[in-house]
Symmetry: C2
Subunit: 344 residues, 2 copies
């Protein structure tokens, strides 16, 4: 339950990097039954900047999306896109990737920006280490992430107290903590325990899907999962392929976000019921993609998002019916066969 | 009146270069009350190729547009895009701009391709000379265009005879002749008379909007116009800016096509009632364009096409009410003032 509505889980969150889910309108997202979308704090902070979005009354108004929004902390993009990063106890200094302007993000700044964006769910600032990562660095980094999480939590609490009598979005903004620990089981466990001790509204597993083999990713999630409370949402960050999402649901995960459906063209299945496949032939869509037409990107994105959102909807139905396990195994087996066939 | 419906004039035809009006769906075109669109024979011939489009039952089915379509002859793109052109009495040899494959288009081939595309209106093959152009070349070229027009007309007549008992689209395809003559008044007059003598279903003025000053363009149209029959549609090819279209309507033109609304970002007016302006703020659209987001191109295209289509709709109303002349003068004056202000 968020300020802008209920999110049924498991849920896939289309990514709205720069204040738009690539190539689609909010109306199309609603028609596809997208429940919640993700906003990238780093991108929005760099362009158009927080003042512009505040001027328009927050991210919901700015992009004309009235459903729930989760904003990330900006940390992941600082570590993957920005230049000249300098990490200290205080926060991260960096130069953005657009015009190279210097900026500084601390847990407090990340919370302030996310409060300004006005999303329904904010994420604590974390350090996302790359793969592979030395054990010692991963251990120190996970501890830094815990100290930052504590500071984020303190800001959220003081915002809540200060505005206790108001009903603005910031006071109702949920805050999720992020578990790190790279590919090390003991670090994942320690991180999960430390973050859960701080008592967040939900928990994310970060530092996965950063290039590690799939088994390591599964083990990282399995190592942390037993220490997460069962009554709070669990968000596996940056995942994944359709089979990976189902495997993660089997491992207790509830929320996902992934660039795949809005970045990659996929092969179009037969019998798809999405708007693109209902109205246009596969031959036509193939022509549009070859000719690099914008309509091709639109139709592929509609198709892919429909596929992801529909998969989550079906997973919810199978879970309710007690048949999720069979569904998952059949889907994963069939998906692998099809992938193998498509390579030929 | 075409096979796929009536076109009220004056009419603007959005350009569907590669089997899609850039960035928008046929559904959006219908919502904007687009009456007829233009298909580029050259582009479709090069990719995906005539066989693919025939396989899907023609261009209407291929792109899922059930309204009227006008196809050009391909000549203009051969002269502006293709490489190594060689023009003879017989036709044009060229290498396409995508993979350099050699091809040959004659009046007969142009008619055959357009019959395969199945548009409602086909255009005769012409030579479109560049600006500036020597008088002697322009004269010879206009005569070649007339001889090619005669051959196109002969193909259309034989197709009509051969299929007289059928009701397929090709038998009902209308054919427009094209007046050339560059910027020379006497050549424009001679070309118009020669083309009209051949008796087409409509007449186009080609070789305008190719870089010549606006006065020369107006004079070229004025030189040809008196020789066009008043009961057949007149199509000013490749035009234009909004004031140019109104000036052309005042000079008796009925149909227009122009790449401006689907290629250029325009400044967004206040109080616009298009879907983009109704649902999104100008600040948000500006952000999307700066961030090079596909949604930005979609929204700008919706806005621009709405503006063009709405201008034609308003022109029709003013013509019916007998107030077109005042409307045109006021619009042109206001448009120029606004342009001047935007430069500051």
């Amino acid at each position: 339950m968020t300020t802008h509505g209920v999110v049924d889980t498991p849920a896939f969150m289309p990514i709205g990097t720069q204040g738009t889910v690539k190539a689609v309108t909010p109306r199309e997202l609603r028609e596809m039954n997208a429940q919640i979308i993700l906003g990238n704090t780093y991108h929005l902070f760099v362009r158009p900047g927080l003042d512009v979005i505040k001027h328009f009354g927050g991210l919901h108004n700015f992009m004309n999306w009235d459903g729930p929004i989760l904003t990330d902390s900006g940390g992941y993009q600082i570590f993957s896109l920005a230049k000249l990063r300098k990490i200290t106890e205080e926060g991260v200094e960096f130069q953005n990737h657009i015009d190279g302007a210097r900026a500084f993000i601390s847990p407090e700044v990340a919370m302030e920006i996310q409060a300004g964006l006005g999303g329904d769910i904010a994420m604590a600032l974390d350090e996302c280490v790359p793969y592979p990562c030395e054990y010692d660095y991963a251990a120190q980094s996970a501890e830094l992430t815990t100290r930052w999480a504590k500071r984020c939590k303190a800001v959220a609490a003081s915002l809540r107290d200060a505005h206790a009598t108001h009903s603005d979005a910031a006071t109702k903004q949920l805050l999720f903590g992020i578990v790190q620990g790279a590919t090390f089981e003991d670090l994942r466990k320690q991180s999960a325990q430390a973050i859960v001790d701080l008592d967040f509204d939900g928990y994310a597993i970060g530092g996965v899907s950063v290039g590690e083999p799939e088994e390591e990713m599964m083990r990282a999630v399995e190592s942390a999962e037993p220490f997460l409370p069962i009554d709070k949402p669990r968000y596996a960050m940056g995942l994944g392929t359709p089979p990976q999402m189902l495997e993660m649901i089997a491992r207790g995960m509830d929320m996902f976000d992934c660039v795949l459906p809005t970045r990659l063209a996929r092969n179009i299945e037969e019998n798809c019921t999405c708007q693109a496949c209902r109205e246009f032939s596969r031959g036509y869509i193939r022509h549009l993609i070859k000719a690099e037409e914008i309509l091709g990107l639109r139709l592929i994105t509609l198709h892919n998002l429909h596929f992801y959102l529909n998969l989550m909807s079906q997973a919810r139905t199978e879970i309710e019916g007690g048949t999720f396990d069979q569904f998952r195994k059949a889907f994963v087996a069939e998906y692998k066969t099809r992938d193998a066939m498509m390579v030929e």
